[in-house]
Amino acid sequence: MTTESGQPVEEVTTNPEGTWEVQVEEPGKYKVALDPSTLPQNAEVRGGNNTRTPTVYEGNCSAVLFALQPKGAPGQEQQEDAGAAGTFWAQAAQLTFEGLNLGLIIALAALGLSLIYGTTGLTNFAHGELVTLGALLAYGFNVGLGLHLIPAALIAVIAAAVLGYFQDRLFWGQLRRRGTGIIAMMIISIGVALFMRYVFLIFFGGQTESFAQYTAQPGIEIGPISAAPKNLVAMGIELVVLIIVGFALLRTRTGKAARAVADNPALAASSGINVDRVIRIIWTGGGAIAALAGIMLALSQNLKYTMGQEILLLIFAGVTLGGLGTAFGALVGSLVVGLFIQVSTLWVPPELKNVGALAVLIIVLLVRPQGILGRRERIG
């Protein structure tokens, strides 16, 4: 061991555990060299470099480490290459899974948004808060009242549906009656978002919380993927809900009525559709679905009063990418967004992962300005 300038300080031999200790007089940079010839046979320093240059500060100690590995394992380099390729694909598989996981959550939230946008034309910036609301309600029933998460989640979804109903009944419906314009409503929804988000902050606080069950559930290995059972169940539920709602919109009378109202409320009324009722059903369903999305998000991640706001952009991206106002568009678009966010981290730094997804959004819309499943309008 020497000082930075090379004056020798001391030479030591490790004890049987391989540790050693040197007292130095002054703080400063030191150089620790390991004599490879003293190593046991068959061992060498990993990386081959057998000097270390720690800085020792006054009154402190400083540790150095020489990692050893078996000597000259033949074909080591190649093995590493093969290993790297292997991990790449394993990582890609894992990320694809994560992309689907995230994408489905986004899709669920996006479906709620898309329903409401589709029927009322309202770009609801408070939708993120509806998502948060679901999670917080479930948390309240789960942690506050001590119910198990599954019944708590069910009650929360129902409660959110009821709230969705009353939200339209008492608020948005009244605004529509007054003939409030779409843009004014959009800004009002920003107001509602602020209002709700900070009510959450007041009652819930600014910290991150988790449900009482299923938190930090250990993953199980499925091929190259490790997934927590809760993720798999959640994904199943999400998929089922998405498909049911998607088909309900396409096939059921109320679903068609919802699309009719979206197209032309006055004409829908003229056809005998109770427009207010349809919109109320959509709000009820949309609220419930948003809440479910919130619970799923909280289950997969955690709860925070801003959780919905933080995912809102992705929701919007999903809805738009798929084509505004179509349920299956929301699904497809969100999956693409989810996948791109996760898989793009193979190449871009994770801090920029949203950049990848958003860039894809822009590129897709360049090629298909009406979204993936959207249709062009006829001119003239």
């Binding site: 068609k256 009525a257 197209d263 009324a269 003229s270 056809s271 109770n274």
Partner: protein
């Protein structure tokens, strides 16, 4: 001022200047409008209605229609014909006046509840659901009687074979005339007892215009009360029992279709002479 006083050879300009001054020519005695209005199926009394605050489009329009009658409403552009239909159907806010349907006050009642009372309506513009297919559009027409859809669909498909071929095409991509067919067909999906038609023939080929007028008559013959707004005024007056001429939100003339069609002032101001030439 009347058209007769104007110098010859200036007829064209006359028409422009003769912005009808409402009350002047209008039958001042309102009882005229509503003579024989007892037991009317649908009856409007002095409707005042408008879109923007402070601007009335209807300034006391009266109208009645008896069971099984076919009524035509004609008038210049912007007279308020569509507004009158919309007001009756609960799509424009009525500021004063009443609408009675079979004796029941339906003023400002919501459109969908009128539908369940047997009133049907074909709007003038925006009369299809663009993102729904033709079939779904028609399904919406039968919204309150889903069980009847199949049967009625067959019926309208016979009337407009083009629609059946294209049943899966989205209405938003249809041509103007095809849309008009969808709109008409949509209203025919239910069997309303009162049908309000706002320019049902506009944009249709002559052949189909014929069909529309014939249909209107046939439906009417089957006992349906029809109120029809038309710019194809001559055809309209030919088939209707009675007609109203609306100008500036008021009734300017009323009478039987034939009376109106032959009235020189009506011809001068509203019908034009082109079709006769």
């Amino acid at each position: 001022m009347s058209a007769d006083e104007a110098p010859q050879g200036q007829a064209e300009e006359q028409i422009e200047e003769q912005a009808p001054a409402g009350s002047e020519r209008a039958v001042t005695d309102r009882s005229d409008h509503l003579a024989g209005a007892e037991d009317a199926v649908l009856r409007c009394d002095e409707l005042i209605a408008g879109y923007l605050p402070g601007v009335n489009i209807l300034n006391g329009a009266d109208l009645y229609v008896q069971q099984g009658e076919l009524i035509g409403i004609i008038g210049p552009n912007g007279a308020g014909k569509s507004t009158l239909l919309k007001a009756m159907f609960g799509l424009v806010n009525i500021r004063s006046g009443t609408v009675l349907l079979k004796g029941e006050d339906i003023t400002n009642m919501k459109a969908h509840s009128l539908v369940s009372r047997g009133v049907g309506y074909v709007p003038q513009t925006n009369n299809v659901f663009p993102s729904l297919t033709i079939e779904e559009n028609l399904e919406m027409g039968a919204f309150q009687v889903p069980g009847k859809f199949k049967e009625r669909f067959e019926f309208v498909a016979e009337l407009f074979p083009a629609l059946k071929e294209r049943r899966k095409q989205r209405a938003g991509s249809l041509s103007g005339g095809e849309r008009q067919m969808v709109a008409m067909a949509r209203a025919l999906m239910t069997e309303p007892s009162v049908l309000l038609l706002d320019e049902p023939s506009a944009g249709l080929s002559p052949k189909l215009q014929d069909l529309v007028f014939i249909q209107a008559q046939q439906i009417n013959k089957a006992g349906v009360t029809v109120i029809m707004v038309e710019q194809n005024a001559r055809r309209c007056l030919q088939i209707c029992h009675r007609g109203y001429v609306l100008d500036q939100g008021r009734n300017a003339y009323t009478g039987t279709g034939r009376q109106l069609a032959d009235d020189p002032k009506v011809i001068e101001l509203y019908l034009g002479t082109l079709a006769k030439a």
